[in-house]
């Protein structure tokens, strides 16, 4: 109910949910049963002690609460906002089985971490410098997590990022209604406060060579994520108004966007597609369609996000494949054909089923490409058949001086998964540095 009201009144679709008031947080914290061997903690990829941090909120120890969260997940502030809690911690909450609303763990976590992440609180005592140096390629969630853990352990850490601003998808790729850009950047500042250095607008290869990285650092962590959404090879993809859904989300994060008068079609059925349609709808587009080649059940997007998109007024068109984009200079329609399964399970086009969806914008959200070209430059680093970097349990690649984590390793999952990778890699890197195994 509150959530819906918040959505209805948010400013042009740009405002995320407000944080809890202290009273709100206290009431919610007291609802927590404090389960033993809590399923919420087990459901968290970073194993945050959820009852532990909630109990500290209830007992008026916000600093202790934030420390409980951030020692497991240094990006606990952004994960509080962007995590699909409905399928992770809150989804595992035992109160679901009491036919009650689960604990609003995400918003409690934001409440607890904001005071620290946005404040001037020193949570973690800095260690003696070890003299070791680690280079991190990519200042997204995986890199920030890895860098933060290493810095806490006393290592010198430099993050290199090609974008103008650090934060990766947290800064550029999250829908505004989940987390605004300022919050993402504040969290990066918090990580910098732990001692990591960030060099933005620094592309590996052109601005800094791989050789330089190896000479400056004993170990490297690569968290470069995924690339853009590749062209579909359709006629008309060069028209004005046709583009990559991720670019659209990044543009929205850049400032005020007014979509009134626009008709938006997003092609795809995953989380990016859902974010794009929900965002477009909240920015005032006249009509927003999601076009997906299969049925609702097969969409990769989370059910709660699908529900939110539907409630935002998005129209779903299932069992369609794009044929071409029409327009003179700019987009006027997406032409599709119907699809269906054959009896042996192949998805095929229905003959003579072509139809037009009038549109002024057509966005593709059909999966990001892997950065195979980048990894080909790194000796000893292997990728699997899906283009994912192959790592061991400690997230070390085939090159003993290179670790990797995040979307480039798992093919594209949640921020919290990237954070977990970064932290695990940091543990492995630290061990390796201290034992001398990764020396220059």
């Amino acid at each position: 109910m509150n959530q819906m009201m918040t959505m209805a009144v948010d400013s042009g679709g740009l405002a995320p949910q407000p944080t809890m008031t202290p009273d709100e947080a206290l009431v919610e914290a007291h609802r927590c049963l404090m389960c033993w061997d809590a399923p919420c903690t087990r459901a968290c990829p970073t194993s945050i002690d959820v009852p532990g941090f909630i109990k500290r909120i209830a007992h008026h120890d916000l600093i202790g609460s934030a420390r409980t969260i951030l020692k497991s997940n240094i990006l606990g502030g952004s994960c509080a906002r962007v995590c699909p809690t409905e399928v992770l911690c809150a989804g595992a909450c035992v109160l679901n089985d009491l036919h009650e609303r689960p604990i609003d763990i995400g918003r409690l976590q934001a409440f607890a971490t904001d005071a620290v992440v946005f404040g001037d609180v020193d949570l973690f005592a800095s260690q003696e410098p070890t003299g070791h140096s680690v280079g991190i390629v990519g200042a997204g969630p995986a890199g920030l997590s890895c860098g933060a853990e290493l810095a806490k352990l006393g290592h010198d850490v430099v993050l290199y990022d090609a974008n103008d601003e650090p934060g990766g998808l947290n800064t550029y790729g999250v829908a505004n209604y989940k987390m605004d850009k300022a919050t993402a950047l504040r969290e990066v500042e918090f990580v910098k406060g732990l001692g990591v250095k960030i060099r933005s607008s620094t592309a590996i290869g052109s601005d800094v060579s791989i050789e330089e990285l190896f000479s400056d650092h004993e170990a490297l962590f690569v968290g470069v994520g995924l690339g853009s959404v590749p062209l579909l090879g359709l006629e008309g993809e060069d028209l004005d108004g046709a583009g990559d859904a991720l670019d659209f989300i990044a543009d929205v994060r850049g400032g005020q966007v007014d979509l009134s008068g626009e008709s938006v079609v997003v092609i795809g059925g995953g989380n990016t597609a859902i974010d794009a349609v929900s965002q477009a709808s909240r920015l005032g587009a006249d009509r927003v369609h999601l076009a997906y080649r299969r049925g609702r059940d097969e969409m990769k997007a989370y059910p709660h996000d699908i529900e939110r998109a539907l409630m935002s007024g998005v129209e779903f068109i299932h069992w369609v494949a794009p044929l071409r984009i029409e327009g003179a200079g700019s987009v006027s329609a997406l032409v599709c054909e119907r699809t269906e399964y054959t009896s042996n399970g192949d998805l095929v086009a229905v003959p003579e089923s072509e139809f037009r969806i009038p549109a002024t914008m057509v966005l593709r959200a059909t999966g990001q490409e892997k950065r195979i070209g980048f990894f080909d430059q790194l000796e000893g680093v292997e990728t699997d058949e899906g283009g994912r970097v192959v790592v061991d349990d400690g997230f070390r690649t085939g090159n003993p001086r290179i670790w990797a984590g995040g979307d480039c390793v798992n093919g594209g999952r949640e921020v919290v998964d990237a954070v977990a990778h970064g932290r695990a890699a940091a543990v492995s890197i630290d061990e390796s540095l201290r034992s001398g195994a990764a020396g220059k």
């Binding site: 206290l26 009431v27 914290a29 007291h30 049963l33 404090m34 389960c35 033993w36 061997d37 809590a38 399923p39 087990r42 209830a58 035992v94 109160l95 089985d97 009491l98």
Partner: protein, 435 residues
């Protein structure tokens, strides 16, 4: 529809719900509103020697988000003039002839002082007087309140003075700040009391301001112990009410039950343990006079459901169900049973039993990553703890095991003539220090 009216030492009250002598009964205006809301009677805030109160007066204890689970006050008796109070008593009685107005009194310990004020309040129309021998703060330092209630001889003597002066019934309000309430109740009876009211508040410090280090309520840079009441004290009060009701010496002494009453269930429990009526303060200070509406309906519905037509039928039915421990059946066997269909896998029963009781619950992860708990029957002593911590209604139940064992009390067990065998007890410990 059951009859809710009660008669306590000759006073007819339209229902058993009275307001205790406290801030909610400070003025005639308030009492008039309370009677309009449905309260059957009110004990006027204590009249007596002139006092001035401090400003900061109350503090409370919250528990897991529940406000005022316990409540504490350092307010003294009325700081309004006796003349004003007498005028208002007269007016309230004129307007509400069917409601009961009891006036609480506290004056210096001499018969003349008591005689004077009793005559004044009787003149004003009080239906009864209540001797405040319970207030544990401020007034007790001046030799009144609990300073009287803590000494049986004083209680007896002053009750006697009041009885000598009064033509209306005399209630004696007892302090719980003693070791054995029956001694105080007997003293009141010996002095001629027509009824006792209990409990007054319990000496307390509710907490400390962790920044200024001054206990609450903060009065400048100091505090003082106060009187504790509210839901937290109900169990203590129930035990004292039951003790007086069960004491053969005082079993006929009517009891006006006080302490943490907020709902009809609370009222029913007091009456079951022997109270004739009850008095409420903290719950009204929390929610207002309107709470009496629920009490009316709830108690009435409850009596109907039990096939009872009056409150009197309910009174005292639990008194003989309280006994000394040595009279309990040590062969009464119960064991916990978990309804796995209702279990939400929170694991609270497991950890409570494992760390806090008798290690009689196992926990394991199921294939779908849930915490599955199970009772280890051989180790279960039937202590009830798991059923108390379980957040799901009816999930953990305590079930009686009738294994043909013989009823046997501790006294019988110790005797030479045991009626049967002791049913086997679960064995615990013996892993640490075992060779």
């Amino acid at each position: 529809m059951a009859d809710l009216s009660v008669n306590i030492c000759g006073i007819e009250s339209p229902n058993p719900f009275w307001l205790a002598s406290a801030p909610p009964t400070n003025t005639g205006d308030q009492i008039a509103r309370a009677f309009d809301a449905g309260w059957g009677g009110a004990v006027w805030k204590t009249l007596g020697v002139p006092v001035e109160n401090v400003y900061s007066r109350y503090s409370s204890v919250d528990l897991n988000g529940q406000r005022m689970m316990g409540f504490n006050n350092i307010e003294l008796i009325t700081d309004r003039s006796l003349e004003d109070n007498l005028i208002e008593i007269e007016e309230v009685k004129r307007r509400y002839p069917d409601n009961v107005v009891v006036v609480s009194l506290m004056v210096d310990s001499n018969p003349e002082a008591w005689d004077t004020i009793i005559k004044q309040v009787e003149q004003a129309g009080a239906d009864a007087i209540e001797l405040n021998f319970g207030c544990p703060h401020g007034m007790s330092e001046r030799g009144m309140g609990s300073a009287v209630g803590q000494v049986p001889e004083y209680t007896c003597d002053i009750t006697g003075w009041a009885k000598a002066s009064a033509t209306v019934p005399v209630f004696v309000k007892l302090t719980p700040n003693i070791t054995d309430i029956t001694v105080a109740a007997r003293a009141a009876k010996d002095g001629g009391a027509d009824a006792v009211s209990l409990i007054n508040t319990i000496n307390s410090i509710t907490g400390v301001d962790l920044d200024s280090f001054v206990p609450r309520p903060v009065v400048g840079d100091m505090s003082s112990h106060g009187g504790y009441c509210g839901p937290a004290v109900k169990p203590i009060a129930l035990n004292m009410v039951a003790a007086i009701a069960a004491d053969p010496y005082t079993e006929d002494l009517p009891i006006s039950g006080i302490g943490g009453i907020a709902t009809w269930q609370d009222v029913a429990e007091y009456i079951l343990l022997g109270a004739t009526n009850i008095q409420v303060c903290t719950a009204v200070m929390h929610y207002g006079y309107r709470i009496v509406e629920d009490m009316h309906e709830g108690l009435s519905n409850y009596l109907d459901s039990k096939g009872m037509t009056s409150v009197e039928e309910l009174r005292g039915l639990s008194v003989n169900k309280v006994t000394d421990w040595q009279n309990l059946d040590i062969n009464y066997v119960i064991k916990a049973t978990i309804d796995q269909d209702k279990c939400i896998n929170c694991g609270l029963c497991y950890i409570a039993c494992f760390d806090g009781a008798h290690q009689a619950i196992s926990a394991e992860r199921t294939a779908d990553d849930k915490t599955k708990v199970a009772i280890i029957d051989d180790l279960c002593v039937g202590c009830n703890l798991c059923s108390l911590v379980c957040p799901v209604q009816g999930c953990i139940t305590m079930e009686e095991r009738d294994l043909g064992q013989t009823h046997m009390t501790w006294s019988e067990y110790l005797s030479d003539d045991r009626p049967g065998e002791l049913y086997p007890r679960p064995k615990h410990g013996l892993t640490i220090g075992k060779a």
